[in-house]
């Protein structure tokens, strides 16, 4: 279980509080833009220093760990692949920070590439792939890295609605069992795949609530965000 204990982030005049636990499965983070959704993920990934609080995973404190030393994989809004490396090299980086892979590791990479439906494209460079295929390659790297927590910072936002829905389903299928935190500005994404939803509004990240319940009985802040009159 991922625990955020008395988290405080100060960024100039902006501040953010979070005091919550995240269960395995997909948890969407929704809320008004500029509310700090990406900042919260950055803090979890280790890119954002905390003013106060603790982050722990399965009881172990990871607050001070370097980004790569956390049990976390992350997909960013863009630049998830190195354009000068082949797809298999990009995926292979999920197994270790150099490009020297043992035979069994190569098999893992090939398997992940197959699993995301990129058969036969292992030797191509990202520039030769479509946007959707690039997202799949990035997802393949998350698969081989095999870390229990996955942070998704709107990595599919640039895809069309159909492709995005397809990627969300693929994510749900391939990452089952892991603790996935997914930032989105589109409530329908949350409805489609999220088990739980964290509402981030008024500088506070609320406790996760079951998705159906959240949308059946939206709190005031969510109503305002969804544009429904209170």
């Amino acid at each position: 279980m991922l625990t955020l204990d008395g988290l405080r982030i100060f960024l100039g005049a902006f501040q953010l509080r979070a005091d919550l636990r995240v269960e395995p499965g997909i948890t969407a983070i929704i809320g008004p833009s500029g509310g700090g959704k990406s900042t919260l993920l950055s803090a979890l990934a280790g890119f954002q220093t905390l003013a106060a609080g603790r982050i722990s995973w399965e009881g172990q404190d990871i607050t001070a760990a370097a980004p790569h030393a956390r049990p976390i994989s992350m997909l960013f809004q863009d630049n998830n692949l190195f354009p000068h490396l082949s797809i298999s090299q990009n995926v292979g980086l999920g197994l270790g920070p150099n490009l020297r892979l043992a035979g069994s590791d190569k098999d893992k990479v090939a398997e992940a590439i197959r699993a995301v439906g990129l058969d036969g494209m292992a030797d191509r460079n990202p520039g030769a792939l479509s946007g959707g295929q690039q997202s799949r390659a990035a997802l393949a790297r998350v698969l081989v890295a095999h870390r229990p927590i996955v942070l998704l910072d709107e990595p599919f936002a640039a895809l069309g609605p159909g492709l995005k829905a397809e990627m969300l389903d693929l994510t749900r299928e391939k990452l089952s069992g892991r603790t996935v935190l997914m930032v989105t500005h589109d409530p329908s994404d949350a409805r489609q795949v999220a088990d739980q939803v964290i509402l981030l509004a008024d500088n506070v990240a609320a406790t996760p609530v079951d998705t159906k319940e959240m949308f059946a009985n939206p709190p005031d802040a969510l109503r305002a965000y969804l544009g429904q009159a209170g």
């Binding site: 280790g46 370097a66 790569h68 992350m74 190195f82 000068h84 490396l85 920070p97 150099n98 520039g127």
Partner: protein, 509 residues
């Protein structure tokens, strides 16, 4: 604790690079000052030299950049056969040893040159290259190509999306894109040319026409060689540093810091084509101005090529080794500095340009002499100094690409655990490959043509090609010297071209 240690180790290369630059600039200056006895201080003639130095450097910088802007724009928006070759040719004058270039210039603009021959044939009065404007002309010849490259980079950094947007708004590319880009790029180009001309020595002395064209560097030379007044030399070197750093400060103050934003590296398609005639004129002028003296070097040197003693070939071999070694060292140092970034790096990047080569050589000599024979360290010292002298250009070329790589892929790299050597090998070096190749080529070629510290340190077993060429001239062997000059030009260009192409080969987005 452990993280702190890792951070120190990661910063170590940058610290070493900065220490080296500071040691070679201020350290050697201090060494010279420490050897000084009470001299007669700075004279009125020295202040006249300071004034002349500033005036000619400003004029050279303004003219070089003014001519470079139309040429760079033409290169940026036209595609034609030989464009790449032209850009490579643009590198040549900058890489030439001064005396080779001066002889080439004189073959065109001198009293017995092509231009005056043509003027005389047409019944026009002759023009004289010597004097203030001769110095400026030579400096423009050396620096116009560099200014074109620096400004061309600015044009190429405008993302294709901006041209599309401007076209769709039916806006003026010039006002909306080019003027802001130039405002960002021109001060830096002016600064670099100003700094190079600030430390000019042989150009001013040969073409200046007399003692009124004395530069600070020349005054330093005379203080050391003629008066053996090391104190005055050190004082003058301080003045030179002060001038260089003031110029750098001014350039940084007037340079707007916001960038052009990012594009997706599509091939730039433009909807404004402007006047073809004007672009053709700008390119023709630049090409003729730059190529004609080079052609003269070629014509003069060709007969001598087959008449050169073996010593020339041996010296050429040594020069190539020194050039390659200093290019590798220079690029490594530049990479270390660029990875660190920040103001300190900018300052360190300017210092070698404002340093007096003579004070550097003399200071190193004073430092080395009590311990080892200068001859035995001549080539390593040359490698070190040449690397440091090329460092400002290398840092300028590499730093933006490294900054882009860090901005675009820093978090991804950190989350994947790419650090230290792996980060360089897998991310930074491939991303910065083009500027790395360019910087390596530049450093190698600059080192080939350099005739600096080697003169103080070398015996005849350590002669480099420029030194051999100079010694040939001193022995009435003008033809063989011209041949050696041509060989030098060819090797410099070849090294530059190889490195530059190496950076481009298989280069992806």
């Amino acid at each position: 604790m452990a993280r702190g240690l890792v951070a120190v180790i990661n910063r170590l290369p940058a610290w070493l690079a900065m220490a080296l630059v500071l040691g070679l600039t201020f350290g050697t200056l201090a060494a010279v000052a420490a050897r000084a006895e009470l001299g007669r201080g700075v004279s009125s003639a020295d202040w006249a030299a300071v004034r002349f130095t500033i005036t000619q450097a400003i004029a050279s910088a303004l003219i070089s950049v003014a001519l470079a802007v139309p040429a760079a724009r033409a290169l940026a928006r036209r595609s034609f056969r030989g464009r790449r070759a032209l850009i490579t040719l643009m590198g040549a004058p900058f890489l030439l040893p001064v005396i080779v270039a001066v002889l080439g210039l004189l073959a065109v603009f001198g009293r017995g040159g092509v231009l005056n021959g043509a003027l005389a044939a047409l019944g026009f009065p002759q023009i004289s290259i010597y004097g203030f404007w001769g110095v400026v002309l030579a400096h423009v010849f050396f620096n116009l190509p560099l200014a074109v490259r620096l400004i061309l980079q600015g044009w190429q950094a405008i993302p294709a999306e901006r041209f599309r947007l401007t076209a769709s708004l039916n806006g003026s590319v010039f006002r909306l894109l080019e003027v802001p880009m130039l405002a960002r790029v021109v001060p830096g180009a002016l600064l670099v040319v100003f700094l190079i001309c600030l430390t000019s020595f042989a150009v001013a002395l040969t073409l200046g026409g007399g003692p009124r064209a004395t530069t600070v560097e020349l005054a330093i030379y005379q203080a050391i060689q003629f008066d053996f007044d090391l104190g005055r030399a050190a004082l003058l070197a301080c003045i030179q540093f002060a001038l260089g750093l003031s110029a750098a400060f001014v350039a940084w103050q007037v340079t707007p810091s916001q960038g052009m934003g990012r594009g997706l590296d599509r091939i730039v398609q433009r909807w404004d084509k402007g006047s073809v005639g004007f672009d053709a004129l700008a390119l023709t002028f630049a090409t003729v101005f730059l190529a004609l003296p080079l052609l003269m070097v070629l014509l003069r040197g060709a007969p001598g090529l087959f008449d050169m003693p073996n010593a020339v070939w041996a010296a050429a071999g040594r020069s190539v080794i020194v050039a390659v070694a200093s290019a590798v060292l220079c690029v490594a140092l530049a990479l270390a500095l660029a990875m660190r970034g920040g103001v300190a790096v900018s300052v360190v990047g300017v210092l070698p340009l404002a340093a007096s080569g003579l004070v550097m050589g003399t200071g190193l000599f004073v430092l080395v002499y009590p311990f080892v024979s200068p001859r035995s360290v001549a080539l390593p010292v040359t490698v070190l100094v040449n690397a440091a002298l090329a460092l400002p250009f290398a840092v300028r070329a590499i730093a933006p690409a490294v900054a882009d790589a860090k901005r675009d892929y820093g978090r991804l790299s950190a989350s994947l655990g790419l650090r230290g050597w792996d980060l360089l090998r897998i991310v930074v070096i491939p991303r910065a490959r083009r500027p790395l190749g360019f910087a390596a080529g530049l450093a190698a070629a600059l080192s080939m043509g350099d005739l600096g510290v080697i003169t103080l340190f070398a015996g005849d077993a350590q002669e480099t090609l420029p030194l051999t060429m100079y010694r040939l001239m001193g022995s009435y062997q003008m033809e063989a010297a011209a041949g050696a000059g041509l060989l030098l030009l060819a090797l410099s260009l070849a090294l530059f071209w190889l490195c530059d192409q190496g950076g481009r080969r298989d280069a992806d987005t």
